[in-house]
């Protein structure tokens, strides 16, 4: 049993440190911003060309699509496995995790704090600039009702929590594979696709959208951004947020189980 006498300000300190660490990489962030912007530009060109053929009424109009992808590129680095790999994830690979386990803190919460510190950094230094810059160049919709903005804020926060707990769970598998690269890559593709980051679920063929709806990952992108666009309204918002909440708790629990199993079979490489 680890002592639980430490209060939450310890974790806040971890989060702050992680935030500061990210601040070191200014040039990398600038390069990242440019990349975000490039992909956004291509996406907008592509959809403009698709819509130009007048394909009839669509569930989302071109303006919705542009706003959707502006949001996607803004929040990209907050999505599971998209941000830089944390030192904790690497520590499992090189064995230095043993040292971190000696800290009198709960390992998963510690990791969570570290990831959230990073998330705050990406919110401030990546999401905000990408969004503001894009609004200058493209026609980005802003929700008119303060209520839908509120709902979006809640839903996005949950999406970030869910993203963090998924990230920890996936990297946690490194206790078994030693090098998580393969699993991370596979999880990354599946999650990215089913989150709706590549194509909004509204444009998917019915049967595929149905599968997407059963899976948790639309809670990362499709749900918050559909709320933003006003495509989910009224009581459905509560349902959607409830779904995000349930899956967040689920991934926290799975992550905890994986980490605990991992500790029990931990063999340190390299001594």
């Amino acid at each position: 049993m680890k002592p639980r006498y430490l209060t939450c300000h310890v974790y806040l300190a971890f989060a702050r440190k992680s935030f500061q660490k990210q601040m070191q990489y200014r040039v990398a962030n600038l390069a990242g911003l440019t990349t975000n912007f490039f992909f956004l530009l291509v996406q907008i060109f592509v959809y403009t060309a698709f819509y130009a053929a007048r394909p009839g009424p669509q569930p989302l109009n071109l303006n919705d699509i542009i706003t959707y992808f502006v949001l996607c590129q803004s929040f990209l680095m907050l999505m599971p496995l998209w941000g830089t790999r944390s030192e904790i994830a690497n520590a499992i690979k090189d064995g230095s995790v043993a040292l971190q386990l000696t800290k009198p803190v709960d390992f998963q919460t510690y990791w969570f704090a570290d990831e959230l510190g990073k998330a705050c950094y990406y919110l401030l230094m990546r999401a905000l600039p990408t969004f503001l810059l894009s609004s200058l160049f493209f026609k980005v919709t802003i929700p008119q009702q303060p209520a839908s903005l509120m709902a979006f804020a809640v839903s996005m926060t949950l999406a970030i929590f869910m993203s963090t707990s998924i990230t920890i769970t996936v990297y946690g598998t490194a206790f078994w594979t030693l090098d998580a690269t393969g699993i991370v890559g596979i999880a990354h593709s599946i999650i990215t696709f089913f989150s709706g980051m590549l194509v909004p679920l509204a444009l998917w063929p019915g049967w595929l959208a149905q599968i997407g709806g059963w899976l948790p990952f639309e809670g990362l992108v499709n749900i918050p951004f559909s709320i933003y666009l006003g495509k989910i309204t009224g009581f459905a918002i509560l349902m959607a947020i409830g779904k995000q909440l349930i899956w967040s708790v689920f991934f926290c629990a799975i992550g905890r189980i994986i980490l605990n199993l991992g500790f029990s079979r931990l063999v340190i490489q390299g001594g």
């Binding site: 992909f39 060109f45 060309a49 394909p55 594979t177 030693l178 990354h188 696709f193 444009l203």
Partner: protein, 266 residues
Amino acid sequence: MKSLSLYLHFITLRIRAQMAYRFSFTLELLSQASISVIDFLMIAILFERFKQLANWTLWEVGLLYGIISVCFAVAEMVARGFDTFQSLVGRGAFDNMLIRPLGTFYQVFAHEFQLRRVGKLSQALVVFLIANSHLDISWTLGKLGYLFLALIGGTCFFIGLLVIGAASCFWTVQSIEIINIFTHGGIFMGSYPISIYQRWFRHFFTFIVPLACVNYFPSLFLLNKIEPAGASRIVVQFAPFIGILFLCLTALFWKWGVSHYQSTGH
């Protein structure tokens, strides 16, 4: 001849090292394939909904996608050494290469070979073959030869991009990540006909970074779309050679970079 047998020896060593962790290797192979599968799935979904894009059908775009992905997968497989070059410079390990009796370009090229890219490569080939079976391309010897040259040219183009990224380390130590825009971003934008982009964007990727020569012009040739697309036949015929020329230029840039190299002094 000697350098070729040495190269084969080097990559055999690399492959054996990668196969040592067979489970990890299998997962990485799958991971490589899954990344490109979702990329194509995205395109397929869009065509399922919108049916066509600027007079291109799904399988015509599949041809575009197949060619560019094959080129990039091969380039990443053979020339990843340039992509990880910054760690060599950062550790000062490049100094060792300078005192060996072999060219530096050759050594960096030969020091990495990533077999796991076969995952991506086979997915790209599958898309290409399916696209081909849906299209009605009358394959002649000329077209086959052209395709072969186009694949070589495209691979050279992507290797050239990786070389530029690596050579920039001679000045900046850290690799310039902007090059990712042209590699990964290039694949993304090159998966659609370049005619859909705005003029300045199109011109940039034709004349400055000749990405259009990798797959767009070759696809026009194979699909007999040159005239409808309003392209010049001469440009299309020379397109495969542009990538090779591009690689030669970047090799010169590399040479120039090496002469500016200052060790990090570890």
